[in-house]
């Protein structure tokens, strides 16, 4: 009896079970539309950004690249391990910087090491993409990178608007994935880039359950963006790899977009 009381209390503390499952692999940089050349900082953090919940230890990523005008550059060796301070705990994360000079779209792609989620007894691997544009010159934001699974934007990802929509197409090995569940969150806490931390208190609203869109027969989903900020989409289990070290693997596709206001 006592054990079940403890378990229930724990469940209540982390809120509805659905939000507790919304893991998001962040690939974060504060400025995504640059006018001038700049050295931009990146933080790679695994957490629960909307509820400002638990942060998870990342292993050394399998890959981190940037693709610019069809040329992909390996940035894995530039990654530095850091300790990220979440609202409730600390976790291993990574950082790097990248010098942006020429005009066009820069697509950053992270393939993290699979993460063991004890509560579900599964591994999670969220292959994540984030976009930076220089000089307002669009070049390749709408093209797939050829990742195992990925979301391809049909709306300019670095320039969406609160009150507008975002449409994406989910692919696995280049083919549309129908009927996949895509969880949707925004980064609620302020991010302290120098201190490698989420703010203790997140001021934005947290929905009662996960925001979810299901991909249509062409792998498409559309989301009406309710507020400005950084929004993420995590389409679950869309990747081809289903197993890691003898356990179930959820290989997910994550995409980050930036929503401003247009008033």
């Amino acid at each position: 009896m006592r054990a079940s009381v403890v378990a229930l209390t724990a469940a209540v503390l982390v809120g509805a079970a659905s939000t507790a499952h919304a893991h998001f692999q962040l690939v974060y940089t504060p400025e995504v539309m640059l006018e001038n050349p700049a050295e931009i900082p990146f933080k790679l953090v695994f957490g629960h950004p909307m509820e400002n919940g638990h942060v998870m230890d990342m292993g050394l990523p399998e890959a981190f690249t940037v693709t610019f005008k069809g040329k992909t550059t390996d940035l894995k060796d530039t990654l530095k391990e850091i300790t990220w301070t979440g609202a409730h705990n600390d976790a291993k994360a990574y950082e790097t910087t990248y010098k942006v000079r020429r005009n066009g779209d820069y697509v950053f792609a992270l393939t993290p090491a699979p993460y063991y989620e004890g509560s579900e007894d599964i591994y999670i691997q969220q292959i994540a993409k984030a976009y930076v544009n220089k000089g307002a010159m669009p070049t390749s934001w709408n093209e797939p990178l050829g990742l195992a699974t990925e979301i391809v934007p049909l709306t300019k990802p670095y320039q969406t608007y609160a009150g507008g929509t975002f449409t994406g197409q989910l692919l696995a090995e280049g083919k549309p994935v129908a009927g996949a569940e895509c969880e949707i969150e925004y980064i609620n806490p302020e991010i302290d880039m120098d201190g490698n931390a989420f703010a203790k208190e997140a001021k934005g609203p947290v929905p009662a359950s996960a925001i979810v869109a299901i991909t249509d027969p062409n792998g498409m989903f559309t989301f009406g963006i309710p507020r400005a900020g950084v929004w993420g989409f995590a389409c679950l289990g869309s990747g081809p790899d289903k197993e890691h070290e003898g356990k179930e693997l959820s290989q997910d596709a994550v995409l980050w977009i930036n929503a401003g206001t247009l008033q």
Partner: protein
């Protein structure tokens, strides 16, 4: 010299490159080896290949007259002293960049 006045107006609207579908874009970089690289384009993603580019010295004299390459690029030897670059994609589509704003 007077001819620069409308050009300055064009430069002032450069920041608002988001609204029109065919806004000219041009960025220049100091390569740090005595050369300057300019890349042009349009906000709809189209190429600026063949667009005329001029470089003026401090007195307003044209010291270089060329065109954007097929990669929408124009590279030139950095003039001594003050200079300006003009990306000229036609009326209302000019961009002028002051040499002092061209950094590595």
């Amino acid at each position: 010299m007077r001819a620069f006045v409308p050009l300055l107006v064009a430069a002032a609207t450069l920041a608002a490159s988001s609204a029109a579908a065919h806004t000219p874009l041009c960025s220049c970089y100091d390569n740090g080896d005595g050369t300057v690289l300019c890349e042009g384009g349009f906000s709809d993603g189209s190429s600026a290949s063949g667009v005329p580019v001029k470089v003026f010295d401090a007195s307003g004299k044209v010291v270089l007259d060329g065109k954007m390459s097929e990669n929408s690029e124009f590279e030139f030897k950095k003039p001594d002293g003050d200079y300006k670059v003009l990306f000229d994609a036609g009326p209302g589509h000019e961009i002028e960049i002051d040499g002092s704003d061209i950094v590595e």
